[in-house]
Amino acid sequence: MRTRITGGRVFDPANKIIDQVRDILLEDGRVIADAPPVNGEQVVDASGTIVLAGGIDLHSHIAGGKVNLGRLLMNEDRALFPEPFGDFCGCGGGRAAPTTHATGCRYSQMGYTAVFEPAVVGANARHAHLEMADIPNIDTGGFLVLGNDDFLLRLIAQGEGQQAINDYVAWMLKATQCCAIKIVNPGGINAFKFNGRALDLDETGPFYGLTPRRVLNTLQRAVSELGVPHPIHLHGCNLGVPGNVKTTLATIGATEGFPLHLTHIQFHSYGTEGDRHFSSGSAEIAEAVNANPHISVDVGQIMFGQTVTASADLMSQYRNHNIADPKKWIGMDIEMDAACGVVPFNYRDTSFVNALQWAIGLELFLLIEDPWRVYLTTDHPNGGPFTSYPHLIRLLMDKPFRDDHLSRIHKAARAHTRLAEISREYTLEEIAVVTRAAPARTLGLKDRGHLGPGARADVVLYEEQADREAMFAAPRLVMKDGEVVVVNGEVVALTQGRTYAVHPPSDPLMDKRLERWFDEAVGLKASHYKIADGEIRDGQGPEIVELTP
């Protein structure tokens, strides 16, 4: 059946359509080229609305072992935020670490139709996929965490050629059915297993004698040569450490010409100035990002309130566990692959550090000029729950609103930020870029993030309102693959999404090497580590993202 969405103001920056009243035609789950009306087509009156493609969150911890540990620690939060009653209630809830059903429904209610879990640990990948299959209404994909795995570090340390590295990375991507490579604290998580407590970019790690720079560059080359569309998704060294702005700037300078995505860069933009030895490094970071077109970032904005932080970076989480609120935390060394640390946090606007973190995130959003290289995230749930996105959008779009909030934060923090001097307000076009077009482009999803012919029929109609928070919290209509799933901010239907993966080829000799590795070192058969296509979404199989060698 054909559906015509008519009369809305279309913002489709990928196709250079900015604020044009035009029809969007949908058929069989896709956008089709505009054509004259035909009998029997369904007409959706979009007048008074802004028409956007479905939202894409490229960094949100929604599934897998560390999220489940977060749920275990956040039972109070779960009890405070039950899913609303009704036909689409899944007996779940929670805001900081919501249940799978609640995750899908809440994202869908904001107009998001695809969300990417950015830290899948190989050994836990099957679990992450089982959870993703239980999330309704959104498409998903996972980024595989590499860069602390003993097999890789040994390959590099032994001086094996890049081809062996590439074969291994390709094997792991396919085995875990992931769609990109994430590095978390390169070499640092591994170093912590040997009792290393910090590892800077050019510091030599224990046992393997490798620097994070070397690990980073090796994997950058691998994904580039394999043609994985998304560049290395890097959670850099020294997360949260005052003064880490130097490390981040050095990392931007260390990319050897390869593209690089720096994730939750807010947590990596801290200076040591001032009497509290904690200051904003956002101006320097923004300047470096502006000057380096091969760098993209997502912000990891913090939002005030209770949340839980869940990260593979046990080195950093151990450093932070003493400020857990409530006072409990879980750490885990994981299977020669990585680790995890889960620490509840309560970000307070009355705290100097938290307030300044909040300001630093906003400064980064506003000082980085090219919206195509900055993606809207709170690093859910680490900076704050994803349900705070409409509020964040208003902070970006509404200077008086932002100033009002700024006036309420810790006084000394206010003195340490130049946020008040920044007059920029995001436009609707820019919001469409940072929440749709740009993440689709960097992930290599050609049929997403836009409304041109061939695009997935994921379309969102937001009622034009001056209050951008209200506007983006409850769209008038959300269509997923052409089916209406949300009306006036309420879920009206549940649908199954898909899971994105990349399957680069690898030399069969790598199978043999890994069979031996898994038998001897890991104590698990490689054949059982590998996730078959049929295991994805009850036999549906993965949606393969095209490689771009």
Partner: protein
């Protein structure tokens, strides 16, 4: 589900690298011979061998009030009982994740409390994990890093036969470069201390290459000994923690020094085999020792457990409902009250029991307050004939599926070994759900 070789009949064939879902250790190198529907284990621990062995006998049919019925009739009868019930308890939950997903769907539709037959140890550990947390390690980390292992309680091999050979293998002379342990110096030699015990002769043989210390402690003193050891590691006095012989305290003091000198000490215990009131104490003492050690070195806990996919049932409850097991779901809500919804407590108030045990022929708990629906292993012997009995195949024998390993990180694919003649738990729960929905 991985489908391995063809599972149709014919000449006897050997199936290798079978994943085992029974005890929770997740061994995946088992071997059996399959002839028709008969399965003869070739390489398996005694428990797995007992649970994998099958003859060619035809499976029983479902029964309603003891009389044979069709599958559809039995599913409809089960749905009818569920509709009439006001307070259902789902017990057992011995199933693969696919079966559990459908059982939870059914519980959400009918309203029911959920608990697993092997959740006792899990909840003892949650006293510590959910309230304060801990630092844990997975099996491969233990294999490769653990230089000092402390076992609290009885010999882990009594419930997890191959624990020592899997967790602390020996790196022999001329071993492959990949052979575990990769990071334990003094060629694969580790210190293994058992506070409790005794170790079986078989375990002593497996551990022969290591430096083994046994600190004999009676079952009821294990918690005290664990607390004393942690106090010694922390450098606290142990005067108030009496009841142990001087000899035992001296042995624990020596052990504390070894632990403090370790690069990666691992503490392990099977909460299910400890006295119920002591298990949380042991979990707490082990976790606290790790906290103390972590200030200057590395250490981790490795809790034992996970029988019949209790870990999977727990994980699924968390991601579905946001709470662990012992939660009542239905009418759009969940209530997690462990004191009310453990199977034993829930049965005081329940008017229906739905018991699932697909891995082994474990009978439902005693219950006489209402109908019993048993989704159970075909060999189950019932003290009281259930109102509805639907025999099911075994995950990893009759059909594929997924189970979690005890470390709660690794989820493993089970595969079918022979043609299934019985439905899976998922199929049964789905059929009951369809029947339930139709008449609702």
């Amino acid at each position: 589900m991985t489908s391995g070789e063809s599972i149709t009949g014919g000449a006897p064939r050997t199936v290798r690298d079978i994943v085992c879902g029974f005890c929770g250790l997740g061994c995946d190198d088992l071997e059996v011979t399959v002839a028709g529907r008969a399965i003869t284990p070739r390489t398996a621990c005694p428990e797995a061998a007992r649970l994998l062995a099958r003859n060619d006998a035809p499976p029983p049919s479902p029964r309603i009030n003891g009389a044979p019925s069709s599958f559809e009739e039995a599913a409809a009868a089960a749905a009818g009982h569920l509709k009439a019930a006001r307070s259902a308890a789902f017990s057992g939950l011995g199933a693969d994740l696919e079966g559990l997903r459908r059982l939870y769907d059914l519980a959400m539709a009918s309203g029911a409390s959920l608990d697993h037959a092997a959740s006792g140890g899990l909840f003892a550990n949650l006293e510590r994990l959910a309230r304060k947390g801990w630092i844990a390690a997975t099996l491969a980390e233990v294999r490769n890093r653990c230089d000092v292992m402390v076992v609290f309680g009885d010999d882990p091999a009594s419930a997890f036969s191959r624990f020592f050979s899997r967790a602390v293998p020996v790196r022999g002379e001329g071993a492959d470069g990949d052979a575990a342990p990769l990071f334990v110096t003094a060629p694969g030699r580790r210190q293994i201390a058992v506070v409790g015990g005794p170790l079986s002769e078989a375990s002593r043989r497996v551990l022969a290459a290591h430096q083994v210390t046994e600190v004999p402690v009676s079952e009821q003193d294990v918690a005290t000994a664990a607390s004393v050891l942690t106090a010694l590691v922390a450098g606290r006095g142990v005067d108030g923690l009496t009841g142990l012989s001087d000899e035992t305290v001296a042995a624990l003091a020596a052990l504390a020094e070894q632990i403090k000198a370790a690069r990666y000490a691992v503490f392990t215990w099977n909460a299910a085999s400890l006295p119920a009131e002591d298990a949380p104490v042991v979990a707490g003492a082990a976790s606290e020792a790790v906290d103390v050690l972590s200030v200057t070195t590395r250490a981790a806990v490795f809790p034992l457990g996970g029988r019949d996919n209790v870990t999977g049932a727990h994980q699924l409850a968390l991601w579905r409902f946001g709470y662990p097991l012992r939660t009542a779901v239905g009418a759009g809500t969940s209530r997690h009250v462990p004191e009310l919804y453990s199977t034993a407590a829930a049965l005081y108030d329940a008017d229906l029991l739905l018991h699932t045990s697909a891995f082994r022929p474990d009978a439902p708990p005693d219950f006489d307050r209402g109908p019993v629906i048993a989704i159970a292993h075909p060999d189950t012997v019932f003290a009281r004939e259930p109102e509805v009995f639907i025999p099911v195949g075994t995950p990893g024998v009759d059909y594929g599926g997924h189970v979690f390993r005890m470390d709660s990180v690794v989820c493993l694919p089970l595969q079918a070994l022979r043609p299934a003649e019985l439905p899976s738990v998922a199929e049964v729960a789905a059929a009951i759900l369809v029947s339930f929905g139709r008449g609702a």
